[in-house]
């Protein structure tokens, strides 16, 4: 059993799974909340669409981290992690590198959905304030981006470490 490879794949898998879970849950909730508003006034669909899409970005960030990890560990290119003690440590590092995206992305997708839900209510009552609703929900995106950049930098630099 190549434990190093297993740990690296676990990290890559977590990055996309947790983010896709958070994004699908978030987008689903906001879309559900938006449907009574659209049923009442279909002209609000455009304004609500932005809010519905916002919690979906984390899924894409997670996918990027996963693909990048796979290109570094010999699945989609790069050097295969050896079945040695150093390989296990390297695999562990990939797992750690994926965690900021896996956890930060999941939390930010769910919390962003919550802000977007209040935005849906705001647009329902005061459509002219849609900009404020989108801006508020976008603030949470910053923390998904920070998680993404952290994971990206770590994944990119692991193979450069001398063992």
């Amino acid at each position: 059993m190549n434990w190093g490879m297993l740990l690296a794949l676990l990290g890559a898998g977590l990055a996309v799974t947790t983010n896709c879970f958070g994004s699908s849950k978030g987008v689903g909730m906001v879309a559900e909340a938006a449907s009574p508003v659209i049923a009442e006034d279909s002209s609000k669909f455009g304004k609500l669409l932005v809010l519905m899409l916002l919690p979906g970005s984390q899924g894409l960030y997670g996918l990027v981290i996963t693909i990048l990890s796979l290109t570094q560990i010999g699945v989609l290119g790069g050097t295969v992690i050896p079945n040695t003690a150093a390989g296990v440590a390297r695999g562990g590092l990939f797992l750690i590198a994926c965690l900021p995206m896996a956890l930060g992305g999941l939390a930010s997708a769910l919390l962003q959905a919550r802000v977007a839900l209040t935005g849906v209510q705001l647009i329902s009552k005061r459509p002219q304030d849609s900009g404020k609703a989108v801006t508020s929900a976008s603030l949470v995106e910053l923390y998904a981006l920070l998680s993404f950049v952290s994971s990206l930098l770590m994944v990119m630099s692991i193979n450069g470490i001398n063992w």
Binding site: K25, G28, M29, V30, E32, A33, A34, S35, P36, V37, A39, E40, L110, L111, A113, R114, L117, T118, V120, Q121, S124, K125
Partner: protein
């Protein structure tokens, strides 16, 4: 954001959309200022209220509207059973009214109230055929007991006590089973203030402790049943009751008990509504849906008062003072 709460995304958003058609205080003033009953009905119709064929019967108009709101709650909420404590009292009212109507040779369902948990045709059939076992518990055993009591003794007051007590017990049980704090607190106010009213009336009419023991429900956390019962043992019963109530969270409403029962009812309704407001804008969870339904009830109580005032040419200043706080 628990997984349970996230199920409410559609219901909460839908409730907020529906609430936009609620009457506000300024709308109530316009309804009050309307020249006639027909003008009020026309304003309700403009707001999207469904009208029965005969608009002269205000009860039918209001029944349709509250049923529409309740049907919306049960269709939109992911777990409609959670909200049953909001309408349980109507089922107990229907059981009581149905049996009394049957024994007085009236149509069994003529005093039925909407909405209800138990289908009204099932309730009617069970009462008409005396087959109370068709109803779920506790209605089956309670119905049989009350029917038997009325046939044997004709003691309407005892029948009322049995049903009202069971009603309050079941509401407390259903609210506690829901696990929703807002619902528990709302129903706590409702049942506690009903118990206070019962204790006050019983002591005022010289009833003894045994009567109170049968009439007062269990399970309140904001008042003590034992303390209320103890008041009946005192020499100065009423002073003792009022003195105890002044130490509870209901002290500000106690003054209305002796001056005006209608004012007391209004005070209770306003207390219940005030409790809804902090969770009104929650993006998820059952609280905004509970707020929506109780808010609709408050609106309907006000419209009922206004329609009755227009039908009976009551003075506007008196009517205005009776209007409940609104969910706004």
């Amino acid at each position: 954001m628990g997984p349970g709460n996230s199920k409410y995304a559609y219901a909460v958003s839908g409730a907020h959309v529906y609430e936009k058609s609620f009457f506000r205080r300024s709308d109530m003033d316009k309804l009050l200022a309307a020249p006639s009953y027909e003008a009020v009905v026309a304003m309700l119709q403009e707001r999207g209220w469904t009208m029965p064929d005969d608009t002269r019967d205000s009860g039918k108009i209001l029944d349709l509207e509250i049923s529409r709101a309740w049907n919306w709650v049960t269709a939109s909420a992911p777990d409609p059973d959670l909200f049953r404590s909001l309408v349980l009292r109507n089922d107990f009212h229907n059981l009581k009214a149905g049996i009394k109507c049957l024994l007085s040779d009236f149509e069994v369902d003529q005093e039925f109230t909407k909405p209800s948990v138990i289908d009204r045709s099932l309730m009617k059939e069970a009462i008409e055929t005396h087959s109370f076992d068709k109803l779920p518990e506790p209605f089956s055993s309670l119905g049989a007991e009350v029917y038997d009591l009325l046939v044997r003794t004709g003691d309407g007051q005892m029948a009322d006590i049995l049903i009202d007590r069971k009603c309050l017990d079941e509401i407390t049980k259903a609210a506690n089973a829901s696990g929703v704090d807002l619902l528990k607190n709302e129903m706590e106010i409702y049942t506690a203030t009903c118990n206070i009213k019962t204790a006050f009336r019983a002591i005022k009419t010289g009833k003894d402790r045994a009567f109170l023991e049968r009439a007062l429900s269990d399970g309140n956390t904001t008042i003590s049943r034992d303390q209320l019962l103890a008041c009946a043992d005192e020499e100065k019963k009423m002073e003792s009751l009022l003195s105890y109530l002044s130490t509870t969270s209901y002290s500000s409403g106690t003054k209305y008990l002796s001056s005006s029962p209608a004012e007391y009812e209004k005070w209770v309704d306003d207390q219940m509504l005030a409790l809804l407001l902090p969770t009104r804008h929650s993006p998820l969870g059952p609280e905004p849906v509970i707020g929506f339904y109780l808010g609709k009830e408050a609106e309907i109580k006000n419209i009922r008062i206004i329609l009755a005032a227009k039908q009976n040419n009551l003075p506007l200043d008196v009517v205005s003072g009776r209007l409940r706080r609104l969910y706004e």
